[in-house]
Structure formats: structure tokens, C-alpha cells
Symmetry: C2
């Protein structure tokens, strides 16, 4: 198909497709004439994959490029591939203070994660973030131990397992598909959580109506 | 206390405190002499609150300012306050395409949310995002209905309710506390999910060791 048809079918504007071609995120089409090329199924799939990562995963193009080369590099095992994409989806970096509260929170979170039986490095971004959260809660006056998070941990674990069940399907033959599913399911979860929050905030605290009417 | 002591106790550098004072995110201290002021408990609490929002919630200062004025404005009901903060925490905006797949996904997601009994506007950011996810999944070859997300919705609902139980405590007297708890619990959940993903990816796909040994 021509580039105009590729644009129509994927909803990606022609200038964006040309940009992806120049940046080699998309392989070149088959040249059929001066300033003309034909594109196929693989281009359409690749474009949809890129858009899932940028639109829903909110990943930038350098992350997309890194993922594409990791997918194509057979030396990168699927475990590393998924670790890379999950870390990209984890929101923001974390600045770690060095003070008494943070050090105590570090110890407490380490013990808590150990008690869950999770094999997680203490330099994993999620670990650093939970340390920050616990230290902040205590500074704000909450007298809580790390086991305060136990019910959340249980839910998080079930979610992670369920995500992997879905991500895993055919992961050995379709590594791009596994990455796309990881991104999409992450997007679905945060969307559903946001809607559930909307609904329950309104339910619990009452949403003021625009016109309360007489009385 | 002097600004140096305030900095020591909160871990916020003096230039940052001065910036917050200039930007009126922090009320001025009590002037005690030329170029000297005293700060109290309220300054310490406010600084910790701001840092929880910026470090863990990854909110920018204009969002922090908006939240601070909403907290202080008694005309803003708690439901609106929480809706504002949850929307700020929801990752990224969403660009909505107008094409056949998106329109069909819009209809399907609307029905699905209705079947859950959730009162959520179709222009809520979570709604738009789920539409995007469903359309993308179908474009990538997944033959799924919106009820594919039902197990996630159930978990999301339980999480939202649990969060609100914790956020709600004393919300009528401590609105800043309710906002801080919403931000911190959101941070804790994403941290735990990230760690659970790390753990289960390694468990399921095996993490290659640095030295595989002989054989």
C-alpha cells in the first residue's frame, strides 16, 4: 500500500510516519519509483505497536527505540525484556534523602518485602519509592509499620500474576506482542482505578449537583 | 526555629525553602530582625506536605499551589478535592482518535462501565484511556470484549474503596492530611505493583545468573 493508505489504516498522520522512517523506527518501504514506496502488513503492525507504547504507555521515542532493539535482539531474554518495559512504565525517578527516618524506613521496608518472600533488589525503583512513602507517612504523623501496606501488597501480587498470565501467551514467538500487552494492561489498570476512584469518591462524599433544587 | 533548623528537620535545602517562600507556597515566618525570621510547626508540616506531593506524587508546583488553595477554600467540598488530586495523579493525557475502532470501543466501554454500576462520565480521563486501550488491543489482533477487563475492574474497585477508607479518616478536620494520604497510598500501590512485577517476572521467566557456570 502507499503511505497515504498506511496513514488512513493506522490513524497515524503522514508526517509522523515520515519522521518514524527517518528515525528508523519503521523499516523503509519497497521503492517502486521516484519518491514512491510500498508498505505492507509489517509496517502497519509496527506503527500500531509504536502508537500503543507512546499513546497508552506514554513512552518517549528513545524508550520505544530501546524496546524495539531489545525485542529484535535474541540475546535479550524475555525476563529482561519485561523488566525493561515495567521499569519504563514505573512513574518517575526517586530522590533518596539520607536521614534517620529514611534509614529506618529502608530497614522496615526491607524486612517487609523479605516477609512477603519477594526477591526484589533494594535498589529497585519500587523499593526506593516505598521507602520514601513510609518515611513521608511517618513525618506526616502516621504511626505505621511497613506491614500497613500488607493488604496492598497482596492485591499487587495478584495483579502482577494475572498480568503475566496474559502477557506470557506466545511470548517466545511474539515478543513484541508480550511487550504491547504489558503496556496495554498497565494502561487498563490505571484507567480502571481512576474510574473506580471517581465513582467511590462521589458515592461516599456525595457529588454536589449543579442545581440542588428547592428546599 | 531559624530557617537553617527548618531545613535540617525537613531535609529541604534552604534555597528551596526560600523559593517556596517567594512563591507563597509557604507562609512568611515571624520577622525577628533584619534578614531574620522564625518558623514554626505549621511551616514544618507545610514543607513536608509539599515534598510528599512533589517527591512521591510527582506533581509540579502549579498543581501543588492549586491543591493548597482548594484545601484552604471551604467552599470546595472534600469530594471535589479528592477528585482533583486523583485526576492529577492519573498519568498523562489522552489523544482520542475518531475512527471506527475507537467509536466501537467507546460504545463497548460505556456498556461495560454501566454493567459495573459505576457512575463515571464518558469524558473522565480513565474512561477515555480504557477506550484507547481496548481499541489498541483489537488493532493488535486481540479479539476481546470490554468484559475482558472485568477481573481488573473488580480489583480496582476494592483498591479504591480501601484507599478511601484510609484517606477518609478525619477528612473534615484535616483536608491536607486526606490529600497527602491519597498521594502517598497511590505511590505505595505503584511501588508494590512494580516490585511484584519484578519478583514474578524473575520467578516465571527465570533471571539469568551473571555466571551460568560450567555445562
Amino acid at each position: 500500500m502507499r503511505i497515504s493508505e498506511l496513514s488512513r489504516q493506522t490513524g497515524v498522520p503522514i508526517p509522523t510516519i515520515k519522521f518514524y522512517l527517518r528515525e528508523r523506527l519503521l523499516p523503509p518501504g519497497e521503492v517502486t519509483g521516484r519518491n514512491q514506496a510500498q508498505y505492507g502488513d509489517c509496517h502497519r503492525r509496527r506503527l500500531r505497536f509504536i502508537r500503543a507504547l507512546t499513546d497508552i504507555g506514554q513512552l518517549d521515542l528513545s524508550s520505544v527505540r530501546l524496546l524495539l532493539s531489545a525485542i529484535e535482539d535474541e540475546c535479550v531474554p524475555t525476563s529482561d525484556l519485561l523488566e525493561i518495559v515495567y521499569r519504563m512504565l514505573f512513574p518517575g525517578g526517586s530522590t533518596q534523602d539520607d536521614n534517620a527516618e529514611t534509614r529506618q524506613a529502608q530497614i522496615d521496608v526491607g524486612k517487609f518485602i523479605g516477609s512477603l518472600g519477594w526477591q526484589v533488589h533494594s535498589d529497585a525503583p519500587g523499593h526506593a519509592r516505598l521507602v520514601q512513602v513510609l518515611a513521608a507517612m511517618r513525618r506526616l504523623g502516621c504511626d505505621c509499620g511497613a506491614d500497613f501496606f500488607a493488604p496492598y501488597a497482596e492485591v499487587a501480587e495478584r495483579l502482577a500474576v494475572r498480568q503475566l498470565d496474559l502477557v506470557e501467551a506466545n511470548h517466545d514467538v511474539d515478543r513484541a506482542g508480550a511487550v504491547a500487552r504489558a503496556v496495554l494492561l498497565d494502561g487498563a489498570l490505571s484507567a480502571l482505578l481512576s474510574m473506580a476512584q471517581d465513582h467511590h469518591v462521589a458515592l461516599r462524599f456525595g457529588r454536589p449537583t449543579a442545581d440542588p433544587g428547592p428546599g
